[in-house]
């Protein structure tokens, strides 16, 4: 029972990340009709906003280690700690949450610049062209990050107060159901962002116009509404969602330049399984595949079907697409 509960939590947590990325992908595909392979790179860029903020906050006074003469080695103390003591240390400790605030305008600007500067020229081109150009852009972004930050992962810590684990089992009378605070926060964060995006699309006039545009772009345009401008903003919004997912994921997975690619393929699978263009489908499929992946890696399951944990997502995708070629929530 404990093991099952833990795997459900693992699946929800993993599914949250898949769903967030897939949500942005679906938004872009649904509005602009663009298959955006840069989306994983936006997730990674968000993570590196967190890395950059931490680097800025920890700009340090360097005291040279005189015992080392062959090269320069330093003991570093951040200026924030020197100037403001515990308050400075607390600011550094909270660098990941602080990064969320900073990432919003940065990712919005990146998204809009990307759409205006490159993507818009490919609206009327084949999907294959769109895939090639966005995949190429993802590689360029990755290489720029590698050139500036190196190829190794760069660890980011969650704030001290939430860096440990919570004994969930104690509350429900089970032993050994311990789960990290930050993963619980990530799950809650994912649900909030997903809820926020849905509320934005369903409860605002802007969202209503966007949904109408997704349904019938031409008619909305004929009504005198500048749908293109709104879709540009939607692209920026999708970039913000991906970026925030990346920022929040840094304490779970130390970021490197390739982390976006690791998530991209799975997220596309999530979109296809959920149904291309279906926002609800993307979210549902994200959580579904996350949970299935977690369960398939249980020893009891792997003893029956060895290696199932490595192929389960693809098997499920094949099975669903066989019976529902347009995905779980896709419209015929």
């Amino acid at each position: 029972m404990e093991a099952l509960l833990l795997q459900v939590l693992n699946g929800l947590d993993k599914g949250g990340a898949y769903a967030l990325i897939a949500l942005g992908l679906t938004l872009v595909f649904g509005t602009l009709g663009v298959v955006n392979f840069t989306h994983g790179a936006l997730f990674m860029l968000g993570a590196f906003v967190a890395v950059s903020v931490e680097k800025v906050l920890t700009i340090s006074s360097k005291v040279r280690d005189e015992s080392i003469t062959f090269f320069e080695a330093y003991k570093e103390t951040p200026y924030l700690e020197i100037w403001w003591g515990d308050t400075g240390a607390a600011i550094i400790d909270w660098s990941v949450p602080i990064s969320i605030i900073i990432a919003i305008p940065i990712m919005l600007a990146v998204g809009i610049a990307m759409e205006r500067g490159l993507i818009k020229y490919f609206y009327k081109r084949e999907h294959a062209d769109q895939i090639l150009v966005t995949f190429g852009l993802a590689i360029v972004i990755g290489e720029i990050i590698k050139a500036n930050f190196g190829a190794n992962a760069i660890p980011q810590a969650a704030p001290e107060v939430v860096s440990g684990s919570v004994d969930i089992g104690a509350a429900i009378g089970l032993d050994g159901v311990v789960y990290p605070w930050w993963r619980m926060i990530y799950l809650a964060f994912s649900l909030s962002i997903i809820g926020g995006v849905f509320a934005f699309l369903h409860m605002t006039t802007f969202g209503m116009v966007v949904r109408a545009g997704m349904h019938d772009r031409e008619t909305v345009g004929l009504l005198g509404i500048n749908i293109e401008k709104r879709f540009t903003i939607v692209f920026g919004l999708a970039a913000v969602v991906a970026g925030l997912a990346g920022v929040m994921y840094t304490p779970i997975l130390p970021p490197d330049y390739n982390m976006g690619m690791d998530f991209l393929v799975l997220s596309f699978l999530v979109v296809v399984v959920g149904g291309m263009g279906s926002l609800g489908g993307a979210v549902a499929a994200g959580f579904l595949l996350g949970i299935l992946q977690s369960f398939s890696s249980m020893t009891a399951v792997k003893e029956i079907i060895p290696g199932i944990d490595q192929v389960i997502i693809y098997l499920i995708a094949v099975a669903i697409l066989l019976f529902r070629p347009r995905g779980l929530f896709g419209k015929d």
Binding site: Q7, F70, A73, G150, A153, P180, I252, S294
Partner: protein
């Protein structure tokens, strides 16, 4: 004219005609067929010799590959008599003269392994066939090393392995043309065992998470032998896909497994991620069976340790070499590398630099680049002053035998590079095994062009 003399004349005439025909045939044949008959692959003809450095320049191990390449460039510089000479000042015995190798200036070609066996073989093949490399060196993965070693055997060039830790490289997959200076998983296990016993006791239960490829299997087998040998139980050994990213689904079962030690048979990015996540799940704060829960990482790398940040502190593992060593060889290398690049070398850089010098020295000893001569010079070669104490290239398996370092993540680093404390330098005698222990056949020398 007698019959006898007539016969002799006829034979001589026939012999003369045969010889002339043979000479004409040889003269008419393309030059490559002539050289095939007389020389070995890529025999240097001009005033220079080319070495091929095959390292990961892209992918997850690109930083480690970049450090390997820095070391190779430094080695080439020193071999050509430039710079401060580095380990050529401390290596004993040494036949190098600082005038290249056998008087030929050392040049090099580079390849990108991408840490993929097929890409690594393709780049090695290109360096052998197009660039004329007489030796290939490098790599940051055992899968890659084994694949390239096999290619070099077939191609008839020497392979001086870079960072490869699986037993198989000099065990079941060893080759006559392959040589490894780096240590292996059995040595890690043998070195770690006594330290684990003295630090954590004899009554422990270990849970293994293992990268699902040749190195992971080798590491798991070696460390299990060691821990079970000191009386520990093994709760479970679970294979994890290479590059899994999120290991939460593999870590949560550890919580209720009854294990009080987690052994992470992971390297690089997998190690950084699994260790970070294991700490987040509170494993290091747990108390199981009345004992503090412990995590062990059998193979440490300083470059990778940076990625794990605070989580590496206090954790035990092994390493082939560390820049903080105080022997003359290590100091000479750190000084030379530090002056050139402004930071200390990694263990990967060290092993690659040493391998290049060892190859060059063997050519000088043999008086030829012919792989058969070089192999004979390397087999059983004993040397010192290269940072690992007295070392021997064992003739039977082409594995270097030397002391092994047991290290621990530094709790209180004095600088950004001071991540590992050397806990113990375990002597060669404690990590050595019999020549037949790991199986495999070297095969024979291949110097046919």
């Amino acid at each position: 004219m007698s019959n006898d003399s007539k016969k002799l004349t006829e034979l001589s005439r026939r012999g003369f005609l045969k010889s002339t025909a043979a000479a004409a045939a040889v003269g008419a044949a393309p030059a490559m067929f002539v050289s095939n008959a007389n020389a070995y692959v890529n025999a240097p003809k001009g005033k220079s010799v080319t070495l091929g450095f095959n390292v990961p320049q892209s992918g997850a191990y690109a930083d480690e590959g970049a450090d390997e390449l820095r070391a190779y460039k430094l080695a080439v510089k020193h071999l050509n008599g430039e710079g401060d000479g580095g380990l050529m000042n401390t290596m004993k015995p040494m036949s190098l003269k600082g005038n290249g190798i056998l008087g030929k200036k050392v040049e090099f070609a580079t390849g990108d392994t991408q840490t993929k066996s097929d890409a690594a073989r393709a780049s090695a093949k290109r360096m052998i066939e197009k660039d004329g490399a007489v030796m290939i060196s490098g790599g940051s993965s055992s899968g890659v090393a084994i694949a390239v070693q096999s290619l070099c055997q077939e191609a008839g060039v020497i392979f001086m392995a870079g960072l490869t830790h699986s037993n198989d490289t000099t065990g079941k997959d060893k080759r006559k043309h392959g040589f490894r200076h780096f240590f292996n998983t059995d040595m890690s296990g043998s070195a770690l065992g006594p330290v684990l016993e003295s630090e954590f006791g004899k009554e422990r239960t270990a849970y293994h998470l293992t990268a699902d490829y040749t190195w992971g299997w080798s590491q798991e087998g070696s460390i299990k032998n060691t821990t079970e040998g000191i009386g520990w139980q093994t709760a479970k050994a679970v294979r994890t896909p290479l590059g899994a990213g999120d290991f939460s689904q593999y870590i949560t079962p550890v919580l209720n497994s009854g294990a009080d030690v987690l052994v992470l048979n992971h390297y690089g990015k997998d190690m950084v991620n699994s260790l970070t996540q294991a700490v987040q799940f509170g494993l290091r704060d747990k108390n199981v069976n009345g004992k503090d829960f412990q995590i062990v990482v059998p193979l440490f790398s300083r470059l990778m340790a940076q990625g794990a940040g605070e989580n590496i502190k206090g954790i035990y593992g092994t390493t082939n070499w560390n820049w903080s060593l105080k022997d003359a060889g290590s100091q000479a290398f750190v000084k030379s590398f530090g002056a050139e690049y402004g930071f200390p070398p990694s263990q990967a850089a060290h092993t690659c630099y040493v391998q290049t010098l060892l190859y060059a020295n063997a050519c000088e000893l043999a008086g030829t680049f012919d792989p058969c001569g070089v192999i004979a010079a390397l087999e059983g070669f004993k040397f010192d002053g290269m940072g690992n104490g007295p070392t021997e290239y064992r003739a039977e398996d082409h594995q270097c035998f030397k002391d092994v370092l047991v290290v621990q993540g530094n709790d209180n680093p004095s600088s950004q590079f001071d991540l590992l404390n050397v806990v113990q330098e375990v002597p060669r005698s404690q990590v050595e095994y019999s020549t037949t222990h790991l199986g495999g056949e070297l095969g024979s020398c291949n110097n046919k062009a």
